[in-house]
Symmetry: C2
Subunit: 339 residues, 2 copies
C-alpha cells in the first residue's frame, strides 16, 4: 500500500481511525500535527512555557518529550525512580540514554532515598501500589516543578489512557472525577502548577509507532505492579469496540470534552453559573484542582502542609501522612525484630 499523503513511498503505518496510511516521514508529520493540534485546541502550552516533562521510560512519555523538543519548547525531564526491583533500573537506563541523545540530563527523584519506595510502602500501609504511586508522583511532579520554576508539568497520557479512565468514571458515575478529567488542569492558588496531557489526541498504537520509527528505545514491559489494574480492563473493552468501529475513541473523548457537555461542569463552574458567571469554555481551576494537591478537596484555596509546605486541604498533606505511616510501620517492624 502506498502512503496516502505523499503517494510515493510505501506505507508503514495504517490508521483505520483516520482512514489513512503513511510512510515513516509522512507519519511523523501527521503525528506531530495531531499533538500540536491537541495543544492548540485546548491551549495547553504557550511558546514561553518552561515545561517539566514527566518521563517513566515508557514509550508515551519519551515520545512526548521528543515531540516537545522538536517543536522548540524549553523542556526538562523528570524521572521518578519508584524503587521497583529490576523494572526501575531498566526504565531509568532508557530515560538516561534518551536524554543523553538529546543533550539533556533528567532530574531524578529516588523514592528509596525519600524514604518511600513503592513496593515497601504498599506493604507497610496495606494500600494498592497504583494508588500510592499516584499520590507520590503527583506530589513530586508539583514539588519539582514549583521548586524549579517550571510553568507547567506535562505527562504522556494518550487517548487510550484517557478514554479508559473516562469509561471507568462513567460506568461508576464518578461525577467529581468526571468534572475534573481534562487534558488541562489549570494552575491554581496555593502553588499548584498547571498540568497538561499533550498526547490526548493520539492513540497508544500511534505513539508506539512513532517511538519505533524514530528509533526511541523505551521499556516495553508493563509495570509489574499494575497487572491487575482495572484500567487495563476498560482499555481492552474499548480496543475491541475501536477494532470494530475505528474512530470511536476520539469521538468519545472529544464529545466528553465538549464545553456543552453537562458532565464537564465541576462544582465551581456550577456555583459560578448560579451567579451568572459561568465559564463554560474553560475548566474551573479551583474545583478541578481541589483533589490534586491532596485527596480530600474542599472549598476555597488550599492551605500549606505543616510538614513540607505543599498545597493541601488538611493540616498535613497526603504525601507526608503516607510517609509518616510508612515510617511508623517500619519502626514497629524493627522493634519486633529486635525483641
Amino acid at each position: 500500500m502506498k502512503c496516502k499523503r505523499c503517494r510515493r513511498a510505501e506505507a508503514a503505518v495504517e490508521l483505520p481511525s483516520h482512514h489513512s496510511a503513511f510512510c515513516p516521514d509522512c507519519f511523523f508529520v501527521f503525528f506531530r500535527r495531531q499533538v500540536t493540534e491537541g495543544i492548540r485546541k485546548l491551549r495547553l502550552l504557550a511558546p514561553e512555557d518552561r515545561v517539566l516533562v514527566c518521563v517513566s521510560g515508557g514509550k508515551d512519555s519519551l515520545v512526548l518529550w521528543d515531540v516537545l523538543i522538536d517543536e522548540g519548547y524549553e523542556t526538562e525531564g523528570l524521572y521518578i525512580d519508584l524503587g521497583i526491583d529490576g523494572y526501575s533500573d531498566r526504565s531509568k537506563e532508557k530515560v538516561l540514554a534518551y536524554a543523553a541523545s538529546r543533550g539533556k540530563t533528567p532530574i531524578v527523584v529516588e523514592l528509596a532515598k525519600e524514604g518511600i519506595p513503592i513496593p515497601e510502602a504498599a506493604r507497610c500501609v496495606r494500600m494498592q501500589e497504583c494508588s500510592i504511586c499516584g499520590t507520590v508522583k503527583r506530589y513530586f511532579f508539583n514539588r519539582v516543578a514549583a521548586e524549579g520554576k517550571f510553568t507547567v508539568v506535562a505527562t504522556g497520557h494518550n487517548l487510550d489512557d484517557e478514554t479508559a479512565r473516562l469509561l471507568g468514571n462513567l460506568l461508576h458515575w464518578q461525577r467529581d472525577h468526571l468534572a475534573r478529567q481534562h487534558p488541562l488542569l489549570p494552575e491554581a492558588d496555593g502553588g499548584l502548577v498547571r498540568k497538561v496531557k499533550p498526547l490526548w489526541r493520539v492513540s497508544e498504537i500511534e505513539t508506539a509507532a512513532y517511538g519505533f520509527l524514530k528509533g526511541i528505545d523505551y521499556v516495553t514491559e508493563e509495570c509489574p505492579m499494575s497487572e491487575d489494574a482495572t484500567s487495563l480492563v476498560y482499555k481492552e473493552a474499548l480496543s475491541r469496540i475501536e477494532d470494530r468501529m475505528p474512530g470511536t475513541r476520539i469521538v468519545f473523548y472529544q464529545g466528553f470534552l465538549d464545553p456543552s457537555n453537562p458532565l464537564r461542569k465541576g462544582p465551581e463552574a456550577a456555583a459560578a453559573a448560579d451567579g451568572n458567571m459561568a465559564r463554560e469554555d474553560a475548566p474551573a481551576a479551583g474545583a478541578m484542582r481541589a483533589a490534586e494537591g491532596d485527596g480530600e478537596g474542599g472549598a476555597g484555596p488550599p492551605q500549606v502542609c505543616v510538614e513540607c509546605g505543599a498545597p493541601t486541604y488538611t493540616e498535613t498533606c497526603s504525601f507526608c501522612r503516607l510517609k509518616e505511616r510508612v515510617r511508623k510501620a517500619r519502626s514497629l517492624r524493627v522493634a519486633r525484630v529486635s525483641r
Copy 2:
C-alpha cells in the same frame, strides 16, 4: 454449592453480581423480586393497568409475560410476524405454544399482510433491517395498544440491552437519545401509550436461567438480520467488564437513571427548570416521547397522521411514508419485469 437463600437445596444458578447462588425455587423468588422491585421503584405499572406485552418468541419477552401473569397483571400478548423466512415461523410457534400453556391467544400482526415484511422492505428502500424493524414495531405496539384500550405497552428489554444502548449513546454522546433513554416512557398527548421495560434490573443470563428452569420454550437463535448490529459489540464489551468486575452493569445503569444525573434532563425538563418547574424525579413526558410516534421529534404535542391517524410530527407518519416507499419500489419493479 448450597443455595444461599434456603441453605438446603443444591444451587443451580450462580450470580457473581449479587454475590449469590440459588436453587431453582429460590431463584424464582429472587428473579420475581428483582422484576417487581424494578416496577415499584420507577412506578412502571399499577395494579389496574391493562398491559400489552410485546412478545417476539425470544426468552426475554416470554419470561416477562410469564412474570407479569404470575404477578396478577391483566395482560395480552402481541406478536408481530416480521415475515423473515423460517425464523418468523419458528418464533410464532413458540409464542403460540407459550400463550396456549397460559390459556391465552396472542394478538398477531402479520407484516406481509400489512404490505411491509421486513426483508422485502429493507431491499426496497435500501435501509438497515434493524432500523426499519424498529419503526414498524413502535408503530404497531402503539396502534394495537391504543385500539385495544391498553393502558401500557411492555417490552422485554433487559439490563444487558439497556446498558449496551447506554454505552453506545455515551460513546457518541447522543444527548437527545440519552435524555430519552429510560425504562418508563410516560403516556403523552396525541395518543402515545405509556411504554415500560420491567426487566431493566435483570441480566440476560438471569432471564435465560429463569426461562430454562421454568421450562419456557423459546427461540434461541438470534434474528438472522441482526448479525452485524453494533449493539452486539457494545454488549460484548460490557460482558468482558462484567466478568472481571461483577455488578458493574447495574451500577452503570442505576447511576445513569439517578434523577440528579445531568444527562437525564431532556429538553422539556430543561425548559421547565428555567421556569422553576423542574420535575427532577420524573422524566419529561413530551420531550421523552417526541421521537417515539415519529422519528423527527419537535416541540408541542404531536399531530395526527393524515393517512392512518397515528401521532406524528409531520403530515404523514414515518410508518406510512415507509410503506409508501415500499409500495412505489414494488410497482417500479413490477413495471420493469412486465416491460
